[in-house]
Amino acid sequence: MNWEIIGIWLGAVLTLMLYSFLYRDNPFYKFAEHLFVGMSAGYWVIYNIFNVLKPNFWDELTGAGDGSPDYFMIIPGIFGMFMLARLVPKIAGLSRMALAMIVGTGAGLSLVSTLQTNCLSQIEGTIMPLSGVGTMGFIDNLIVVVGVVCGLVYFFFSKPHEGLTGKAAGVGITILMVAFGASFGYTVMARISLLIGQAQFLLFDWLPTMGIHL
């Protein structure tokens, strides 16, 4: 038995089953779709056990890692159990505790990190001179500065878009449209790349197993 060829066929058949959705929704697609959902869930659980739960929780708690049990680990253990309490309707309310911890930690962390990375650093990067940078530099910097400021005006909600505010917001949305266009152009490429990847698999891995070499 050649496991490699079986593997290629497995992959190719599943690929074609999923592509059949393009014709219309059908049992083959549904089969593959459901199989995919189940298998990926299984993968996640296994990796979670082996890569997170065992080393970071169980080994720490029992001291299997470095020999000294860390009894504080009981606390996240309990919170983890709280999280699972959702499965039992009677005590489902306990999961709020676990959720509160996750959300609180996440909120605190993202408040400072987002402010630093996506706000202050961006302001710092936008404070640039319009003089002494040459003609091209002047145009570039001017577009960036005007674009950022007017874009922010567009996202200003306390004032109706009239008069000067409206004009600035208009400039803002224009720059945003150019950015979205660039983003779209870039994205199209991403999507096609993925199809190319699968096409290569079918053409250069699968067809040769049937003796067809392109």
Binding site: A12, L18, M39, V45, N48, I75, I102, G108
Partner: protein, 207 residues
């Protein structure tokens, strides 16, 4: 009252993480580190919750003979097969778990994603309309970038890749940055509301 304790937990965790950024001194540093250790474990419990839910949902579907219930065993079989091979033999290369990952999950995942190429084509034909001058602008800038990213663009006109890169680095960056700053303030405000217990929807039910 049922929300009091969760709100206190949110507040403490949030404040600790903020202080952790500014104050490198103990005990903030040790508490912050401890909290991040715990976070990983509680967050991973959520994955189990997800899996348990999945099983629950599909068993329920089979029991009630809900629509399309015949596919639910497929989900369960896929799930159990991955679980069993992983638990029995481990996840190292060339073992059954890895084999199933490479030969089944990889192609299925890639195919699911590559369907996007077709949807993009369809959207290009049906949805991307130059209905006003702004949409036209969106399309024009998309065209330039699309051409600039492939070898054929440079073959048509040498300047296209350069213009395309300029578009990315100047107007695109300005637009992206405006959105980014605005969104960052949204994050700051929402985080604040959560930490101070003003925003409670994530605990289910406003008050």
């Amino acid at each position: 009252m049922r929300l009091f304790l969760p709100l206190v937990i949110t507040f403490i965790c949030g404040i600790v993480m903020i202080l952790h950024f500014f104050i490198p001194h103990r005990p903030i540093s040790t508490i912050g580190d401890g909290l991040t250790d715990w976070y990983m474990i509680v967050a991973s419990a959520a994955i189990f919750l997800g899996a348990a839910n999945l099983v629950q949902v599909h068993v329920h579907r089979i029991n009630t003979k809900a629509r399309n219930w015949k596919y639910s065993p497929v989900v369960l079989i896929g799930f159990i097969a991955m679980m069993a091979t992983g638990l029995l033999w481990g996840v190292e290369e060339t073992l059954p778990f890895d084999y199933m990952f490479q030969t089944m999950i990889v192609p299925m995942g890639a195919t699911m994603f590559s369907l996007l190429a077709f949807f993009v084509a369809s959207a290009a034909f049906r949805a991307f309309r130059a209905s006003n001058w702004r949409a036209t602008l969106l399309l024009a800038s998309a065209f330039i970038v699309m051409l600039g990213r492939v070898p054929i663009g440079g073959m048509i006109w040498k300047q296209i890749p350069i213009i395309s890169e300029w578009m990315m680095q100047v107007p695109n960056m300005a637009g992206q940055r405006a959105v980014m700053i605005g969104a960052a303030l949204g994050v700051v405000a929402t985080s604040l509301r959560m930490i101070f217990g003003i925003e409670r929807s994530y605990l289910g039910g406003a008050d």
